[in-house]
């Protein structure tokens, strides 16, 4: 068998195992949470009998292991259970929210990833000169400011002072793509500014590392232009570390946008999760946790596979 297929298969298997491990952790963690859902739903005035009944109804009296496997069995069939608080199907409620989060993450990634790599290349080209310092300075500043702060600053200028974009990212299905993009413009900018520095600096460092190689000198001695040297000879060999950091940031865009979603009242996964944590709605928290874990593991798996596939020694064995 081709070694690449073997390696990729190994990684996939490992990813699936990891996901199972994550599901156990999520389940165990949420089961151990203090507080009683039945009490929460019925309030302080509930009688012991009604509490016991509700617990029975919700299946809270069966042993945790049985509950775990019931839950896992459901998840594997696409059934994430029903929310305790409003009795709605979780998969249905999450569907739209996940789509919104992905929509936001997609546009943030579509802008930030190429921009970060381009700025990284530019910083390498003008290493230690003013463009490099400017790029590093600005991106480090934006990463150092808390994202809600950036959010409020942008809202103040773009939404309130200049009235270019709305300050609240309200979404619904009847909006056209243009309207949706207009709605999420400021959140996308905030996310871009937050993830840019990390990716840009990694691109810069990875390429500078490759630039020390003898084959870069060979390329220079062929009389190639500096940008051609960077693009054709340095970049392909720096892809693996760059993809790694890009994927971690993309995972952050999906998983870590809670604050931004709350600031902009954006109807995404993050806000949904925060709402239901507050209400002790364990099945929803579990479902969100599992989806986040899947996204995280999936993206890192892609990074792993990309670095395997871009390694010529693995792709073309002797």
């Amino acid at each position: 068998m081709h070694p690449i297929i073997k390696l990729v298969a190994q990684r996939l298997t490992l990813g699936i195992l990891l996901l199972f491990a994550a599901s156990i952790l999520i389940f165990a963690g949420t089961t151990m949470l203090p507080g009683d859902v039945a009490q929460q739903i019925l309030g302080q005035g509930a009688t012991p009998v009604s509490l016991a009944n509700l617990r029975e109804e919700l299946g809270l009296n069966t042993p945790p292991v049985t509950r775990y496997f019931n839950w896992l069995g459901g998840v594997l069939q696409g059934d994430l259970g029903t929310a305790l608080t409003n009795g709605r199907d979780i998969a249905d409620s999450i569907g739209g929210r996940l789509k919104n989060t992905m929509f936001l993450a997609f546009w943030a990634a579509a802008i930030s990833v190429p921009l970060a790599i381009f700025l990284g290349l530019l910083a390498v080209r003008y290493k230690d000169r003013w463009p490099d310092k400017l790029i590093s300075g600005v991106t480090l500043t934006t990463i150092s400011i808390p994202e809600f702060m950036i959010g409020y600053i942008l809202v103040y200028w773009l939404a309130i002072k200049w009235r270019l974009f709305p300050s609240v990212a309200i979404m619904n299905d009847s909006m056209s793509l243009g309207e949706k993009l207009n709605a999420i413009a400021i959140p996308v900018m905030v996310l871009t500014l937050v993830v840019l520095a990390h990716m840009m600096r990694m691109t810069r460092a990875a390429i500078l590392n490759v630039m020390q190689s003898a084959y870069i000198e060979t390329a220079e001695l062929k009389g190639l232009r500096m940008l051609t040297v960077i693009r054709k000879h340095a970049f392909p060999n720096a892809v693996a570390p760059i993809v790694n950091v890009v994927m971690i940031n993309m995972a952050y865009l999906v998983v870590g946008v809670v604050v931004v979603e709350v600031v902009f009242a954006y109807p995404g996964m993050g806000q949904y999760l925060v709402d239901h944590v507050a209400k002790r709605d364990v099945p929803v928290v579990q479902a969100c946790g599992l989806i986040f874990a899947a996204v995280y593991i999936g993206l890192n798996l892609i990074a792993d596979i990309v670095s395997i596939v871009t390694n010529p020694r693995l792709r073309h064995p002797k």
Binding site: A214, E220, L221, K222, G223, L224, K232, H316
Partner: protein, 545 residues
């Protein structure tokens, strides 16, 4: 006389260095060098490391490596002073008129691109040839350079061909754009001696057939004698002597050149084997974890007290693995090692302290074998504390004794490795090994990274110490001149086996087996016409093909 292809006048090259903790300062690397090179001729640049050879070679491309600055003088290529050119003109010079072959082709090829793309890149990028013409040229060059399957080798990736083949691909890369001048920078130094000779022939033929001029940079006078018309000897950035190859080799005028020509002046009279060897290696077979072949196959050798066994062979022949087995780093799958009358356990971890102490090692790269953050005194003092529990004054005294023994004077105790020269570093490593009062020191290519004159000094020191301390050496090397200089007995290794073993006088005397013949005959000799003669008389093809 017409204008020469390359005319260098008063070339001055410097660099700004940034020593840690000190102010940056400017140093001169080359102090005003003049020479001419006619079209189609080969000039050999020779000198030790730090002589400025590569720096001068790259100056012909108006290029300064790293922080190197071309500070003064003129470099005329095809009637233009390239140091005064603007950047686009410099780019047109590089890769079109002057090209470069580096020492390590393995590092100089981009691992992510196919060979053909890299070989033709300059020819196409400089607009000298169309893609199809450039590829046809490349294939013709692959063929001329004796590469197997010239039609298809270009579609491979660099890691898919051998080191010797890659070095030839690098030559093809340099010749493909049809340059007027090629700078060969130690093109065969990193290769095994049996591979070097083939690459040397390929390069020589390619130069002759294409009529290109060449600057051939090397520290090996015997190699440069085979390929160049003229030789320029450099020392510390200045020219020592310039002349025809014949004159430099046969009638060197300057003292420094004479030293280079007559290097390896050591005379060592071989000692007869004793009845009780210090170390006996019996039937050792070994393989690395996760592999399915034996790197060592049934090895049997003896080392006698106060004597030197030289293990010689190409890279991959199992020399260093043998050292790993003896030191216990790699437990063998079969066989036994007896040391000073007792059997050594296969694994390092189970050996008593005395076994560890009496068996020391010195490595090729003195740089990486020392902790850069420790002073020489700490480095040498460590085994004194560890094995003998020496402290305070007694330790200081012993350290100074050891430093005296390795011929480094006062004031070295407080220095850091970075403040030492290559030869001095290796001496400190020797002192560290000696500090343990070993009976056997394994020397793994200890002189390979050093310049010939410095290496000579190290070998003399080792021989002197052997006499004084009565220590035995297992001397691993690929360099036959070194072997001749210091060995009492020799083991020739080839693909994991000892193919020839015995006292030096026997091993180096005919009749030879095929491999030993190939190995011995491949060592360049310092006379004109050696290359052609040797190729005509060979019994066996080298393994590098």
């Amino acid at each position: 006389m017409s204008e020469p292809l390359l005319k260098v006048r008063g070339l001055k090259i410097g660099a700004t260095i940034y020593p840690p903790g000190e102010k940056s300062r400017h140093i001169d690397i080359v102090h005003g060098v003049d020479f001419d090179l006619e079209a189609g001729k080969v000039l050999g640049l020779i000198g030790e490391s730090g002589a400025g050879k590569s720096t001068i070679g790259l100056a012909a491309m108006a290029y300064g490596r790293g922080g190197v600055e071309l500070t003064g003088g003129e470099v005329w290529v095809n009637g233009r002073d390239v140091l005064q050119s603007n950047m686009p003109d410099k780019r047109r010079l590089r890769g079109a008129e002057v090209t470069y072959v580096s020492q390590s082709a393995a590092a100089s090829f981009n691992p992510a691109k196919r060979i053909m793309e890299q070989v033709t890149e300059a020819a196409i990028g400089q607009g000298k040839f169309s893609k199809s013409d450039a590829e046809a040229r490349a294939i013709a060059l692959f063929d001329k350079l004796g590469l197997p399957d010239p039609e298809n080798i270009g579609s491979r990736y660099p890691h898919q061909v051998s080191g010797g083949q890659l070095q030839r691909c690098m030559t093809a890369l340099a010749l493909c754009p049809q340059p007027d001048l090629v700078v060969f920078d130690e093109p065969t130094t990193a290769l095994d001696v049996t591979t070097q000779i083939d690459v040397l022939v390929a390069i020589k033929n390619a130069i002759r057939d294409t009529g290109v001029a060449a600057l051939y940079i090397t520290h090996d006078l015997a190699v440069v004698a085979q390929v160049s018309d003229h030789i320029m000897v450099l020392q510390q950035g200045a020219m020592v002597e310039y002349g025809t190859t014949d004159q430099i080799i046969n009638n060197p005028r300057e003292e420094y050149t004479q030293a280079l020509v007559s290097v390896r002046s050591i005379k060592h009279i071989e000692k007869a084997p004793t009845d009780t060897p210090l170390l006996r290696v019996e039937g050792i077979t070994a393989r690395y974890k996760g592999t399915d072949f034996d790197v060592l196959k049934n090895i049997n050798v003896d080392i006698h007290p106060g004597q030197t066994l030289a293990v010689v062979g190409e890279s991959g022949s199992g020399k260093s693995t043998l050292a790993r087995v003896i030191t216990g780093l790699l437990p063998p799958s079969a066989g036994e090692i007896t040391f000073d009358g007792r059997t050594l356990t296969p694994d390092l971890a189970t050996r008593p302290l005395d076994d560890l102490r009496e068996l020391q090692m010195i490595y090729q790269m003195a740089d990486t074998a020392m902790n850069p953050r420790q002073t020489v005194g700490t480095i040498i003092g460590r085994p004194l504390e560890f094995y003998f529990g020496l402290k305070g004054k007694a330790k200081q005294k012993r350290i100074q004794e050891l430093l005296d023994e390795i011929e480094l004077g006062d004031g070295f105790q407080d220095r850091y490795p970075a403040e030492l020269s290559g030869g001095q570093k290796q001496r400190v490593c020797i002192a560290r090994a000696l500090a343990a009062k070993p009976k056997l020191i394994i020397c793994d290519e200890v002189t390979s990274a050093l310049d010939p004159l410095v290496a000579d000094g190290i070998l003399k020191l080792l021989l002197k110490l052997q006499k004084v301390e009565d220590v035995s050496y297992l001397f691993i090397t690929h360099d036959l001149a070194t072997v001749k200089a210091i060995a009492d007995s020799i083991a020739v290794m080839f693909q994991g086996e000892v193919v020839r073993y015995g006292p030096k006088s026997q091993v180096l005397a005919p009749p030879f087996d095929d491999y030993t013949d190939l190995l011995l005959s491949s060592v360049p000799e310092m006379r004109l016409g050696w290359l052609e003669e040797t190729i005509a008389n060979r019994k066996m093809e080298s393994a590098g093909n």
